[in-house]
Symmetry: C2
Subunit: 592 residues, 2 copies
């Protein structure tokens, strides 16, 4: 690494005048290894090896205990292989509590330990600050920004000037033919992801380093953020949320029926298409409206149950306890239905907060900018939606929540469970979302985010040595080489989609290694998952606690839809998937 | 406890109609023991014993492990006795690292474990809510409010209608003769307390349940809270804060020299008496202005040192790193000079965050309302101040920060170190602060704070059985009996001052048992005290880290005052104290 740095200085001397070379930050080459902190001192640097388990100028030499640990600890790749093979072994694990529990605990900790607590960096400080902790309007940063005044955007690797985000996106991300996800992920999953994550991914418009959210699963996407907004959605009777009945079904109230309530709808949208929802953007897509509706019904159902249990409780207590139960249910569903679908490990993750009480957990979660960017899963989106025989384009869907009402909840959920998502890979961002990808890449550069390979290192993965190793595709490797010049200088967001995909998951290994720590930490550091909250009394007694402990996606829908329960699944059943693929218009390049 | 409850119902039946009796909350008698949670179910209740280590209807029976632990664990009283006697033993402890470190760790944990993490209650919810965690404008509550609709303000004990706060304050708190503190606490200590704590005790005016602060040691009292206010105090050159030179000394800038900066001064205050300080109230007393000035000088001194170490660092990095060093110094001084003075244990507490890394600490501190109320230490304040021969009444002091400039920093500090504080006991709230005490008692009742004895239980102390046991004074016990009727029904704030005092500390045992957990938790959960921050690179390298690790009150003043260093101490030296007591006007009842 040091060699690399001096190598650069040598080259630079030819092209720059002496003054400019002098001001190059020696930390640009990221000389410190194993998570050590680089401090620049004029023309040299120091690596702070504190608590890295390493020593040496670049903290490259392991201490004896670190050496021994690394010797017995399997690599992230090996772990992933073990977790996705040997079904018989995992069957035993999943069914024998005394084997399962320690493994589950190890799984939790091995993930969440990747996230530094408390976090240290903001997008404007590549060094620790008090701001990072006390100014909660910042998204946290897992890795510090690339130092200022570096020879190249990623430090010393790659080209001096990166190809414009538009060029990169058009070349590598733009959808040609719609490719379907090889693990049969359903639209129900996709909208769950969008609905769930926008409670905490709340980027301040035009200030991508900042968030207006609460940095966690605060259920503000259901109830509204802040007491004032919340109150407008409450009936203040028996803890319930305002609702209305349309065509015999319970739906959120119309916007016009709530004074001074802000929602984002295009001008001239007819009143019967404008609903008042917790999150101001959730009128945007019927899939979001579906989830908003189903959670509203669940909250009101819970309040009725609580009122039966505690006839003397006042509205406030019923409401607040209902909210706690909904939070518990949500986390249970996210871990056991949602995360299990996307990681697809043979060990089935369980929501069992007791397991992590052994170590005092930090309950101050922060949303990291990298997590937010990673979660831009727009390739999931198809170009059109088929609901009970009607085909809707994305444009037909936008700001038409009333489509759910038209078809009825049951039919709509059925369609969502039957629709196939797009494949999470290169050349699969649809025309309506390509701009979002371009914007993310722009933000990453503006906020000096480190390269894809640097992030792989942080999450315990070996950096890729070549574009071919990364993509598994010679042609694309050559194109990438031409655009980026160096495998150590690839935009993080681009890397996620260009990386070869895994047969067992919708994502590549980096996205899984990246996403799981942030997700699990966020879910396990929720107050509900803490020793002071995780007890029957918090949820109004055993009845409420049981609702939380036995929640599932299926129950969420089936207990809140009259009549027969529709198909409720994050994985489109094989026969439907086969049929859908056949029916898709045009030539479908299905990468099964 | 249950008996007590039924006893009440019996009495109540005579005086109330049936409907009203029916609505009495059975949790009013606090039937659940050992920290268990009471849930009311119509006319009965359930105790949730989860993780209390007890079982039984009222969680009154210890499990085997709890029983064994309570058998070997000394009581809080015993611990306090051990910690304040056997000097020779503690001399060894303080000087032998391998004995000291585990004891120090045990001391830290035995204190901080009293604070539930994450906290659960607000002043408006006597049950857990998501609000408690996510709505950071609430002060946290250690114990939930007394349930609504209880027979008496403290549940079932004591009188139905409490004597008015004014009556209580006049009877028990109002100063007659000024009594001096028997441990010789100096004004320098008193103003340190005030200056330090108002960075996080920021009660919203007219809304005593709410805070406008950041819930921790964020040094906003020095730098200003929020980026906008901070920026107005910065020079944006070499990391330094704005300052001016008056009579050859460095002071904060005048208010008139900073555009649009808010400070609280009475109308018509001359411009040369109005300074711009981090905290808007700190122009109120010269003692606060003294600390604001000394920290400003220290910050600018640190920036000069950092600039020498890192000539290429920009203003922002120098400023932010300076702020981190100041935070570290502040915590070091608070633990080693300040807390050691007030607890006066034979084991000298050390700021050694490494010791608590063994258990993952929670870095999300919250300020508890009880902590805020406890910290109303107004009896410390004398009726007048003597500065180099000039006598100032409290009125002369109010909003006259320029008194420091007039006498010069050195003389002023000398006077502060020589002045004796008032005794922290009954009948010692001066005329200017009695109203504050009345207000605190009002707030405690308005927010349904539990009784003094209930809080003693929470902090591991035996509840007092009689007023005589509590006060150690038969006359006062009789008066209290008359006013409150029941030793289980005393206002928390009143209890602190009516309790008999300890010979070794300015406070009674409850205030120490109460204050230490909140303080230590706040200080050890500061980001600076965390594994991700506590390393040389955070403080700009070894030079900065050493400044933090060797900071002391004495250095803080001596390194920032030209010429000979004045007397700098939290304990007035015996000879000066004797002289001061002799000189005090009137009959001094000195309770040495």
């Amino acid at each position: 690494m040091k060699l690399l740095f001096f190598h650069y200085v040598l080259i630079a001397s030819f092209s720059l005048i002496w003054n400019e070379v002098e001001s190059v930050n020696p930390c640009c080459s990221f000389p410190c290894e194993n998570g050590a902190v680089c401090v620049d001192d004029d023309d040299t640097y120091t690596c702070d090896c504190t608590r890295t388990g390493h020593y040496g100028v670049n903290c490259e030499k392991p201490s004896w205990s670190t050496w021994f640990l690394s010797f017995v600890k399997p690599s992230e790749q090996t772990k992933h292989f073990l977790l996705t093979h040997f079904d018989w072994f995992w069957w035993i694990v999943n069914n024998v509590k005394f084997i399962r529990d320690p493994l589950m605990r190890a799984a939790y900790f091995s993930r969440t330990d990747f996230i530094p607590v408390p976090h240290v960096y903001t997008s404007y400080h590549e060094y620790p600050t008090m701001e990072a902790h006390y100014n909660r309007t910042y998204f946290a940063r897992t890795l510090p920004p690339v130092p200022k005044n570096c020879p190249t955007p990623f430090g010393v690797s790659g080209k001096k000037i990166l190809p414009p985000p538009e060029e990169v996106a058009n070349k590598f991300l733009k959808r040609g033919e719609f490719k379907t996800d090889h693990t049969n992920t359903s639209w129900l999953f996709m909208f769950f992801a969008q609905h769930f994550t926008h409670q905490f991914f709340k980027t301040v418009y035009h200030s991508p380093a900042f968030s207006w959210g609460n940095h966690g699963v605060d259920v503000s996407h259901i109830y509204g953020q802040g007491r004032e907004r919340e109150n407008k959605l409450r009936t203040f009777k028996d803890g319930k949320l305002k609702s209305q009945t349309i065509k015999g079904e319970q739906y959120p109230p119309y916007l016009k029926d709530i004074d001074n309530f802000k929602m984002q709808y295009p001008e001239n949208t007819p009143e019967e298409q404008k609903f008042a929802l917790g999150h101001p953007f959730y009128g945007m897509l019927p899939g979001l409206f579906m989830y908003a509706t189903i959670w509203l019904r669940e909250h009101n159902r819970i309040c009725t149950l609580l009122k039966n249990e505690h006839p003397y409780w006042d509205d406030e207590r019923l409401y607040q306890t209902g909210k706690l139960i909904i939070t518990g249910e949500l986390i249970k569903i996210v871990i056991e239905d949602y995360v299990n679908h996307l990681a697809n490990y043979n060990i089935k993750l369980r929501y069992d907060p007791d397991l992590v009480f052994s170590r005092n957990y930090d309950y101050d979660n922060r949303i990291h900018l990298e997590f937010n960017h990673m979660y831009h899963w727009h390739p999931f989106s198809p170009d059109q939606f088929n609901i009970s025989g009607t085909t809707y384009s994305i444009e037909d869907f936008m700001y038409h929540p009333e489509i759910v009402v038209k078809h009825g909840m049951s039919s709509f959920v059925n369609a969502m469970s039957s629709g196939l998502c797009g494949k999470m890979s290169h050349h699969n961002h649809g025309q309506y979302t390509l701009d979002v990808a371009i914007e993310v890449i722009k933000h990453q550069r503006e906020l000096r985010m480190q390269s894809f390979n640097n992030y792989r290192k942080h999450f315990g993965l070996e950096p890729y040595k070549s574009f071919e190793e990364m993509t598994g595709d010679a042609k694309m490797a050559a194109e990438l080489e031409e655009v980026y010049g160096d495998v150590n200088a690839v935009d993080l967001y681009v890397g996620f989609f260009l990386e070869k995909s895994l047969p067992t998951s919708p994502f590549g290994i980096t996205m899984i290694a990246f996403g799981a720590p942030y997700s699990l930490r966020g879910l396990l550091s929720n107050p509900v998952s803490s020793p002071t909250y995780w007890k029957p009394s918090t949820f109004g007694g055993e009845v409420g606690f049981d609702i939380v402990k036995t929640a599932s996606l299926n129950k969420l829908f089936c207990q809140n839809i009259d009549g027969d329960c529709p198909l409720v699944t994050f994985t489109v059943p094989d026969d439907i998937a086969r049929e859908t693929r056949r029916m898709l218009v045009g030539n479908i390049k299905d990468e099964l």
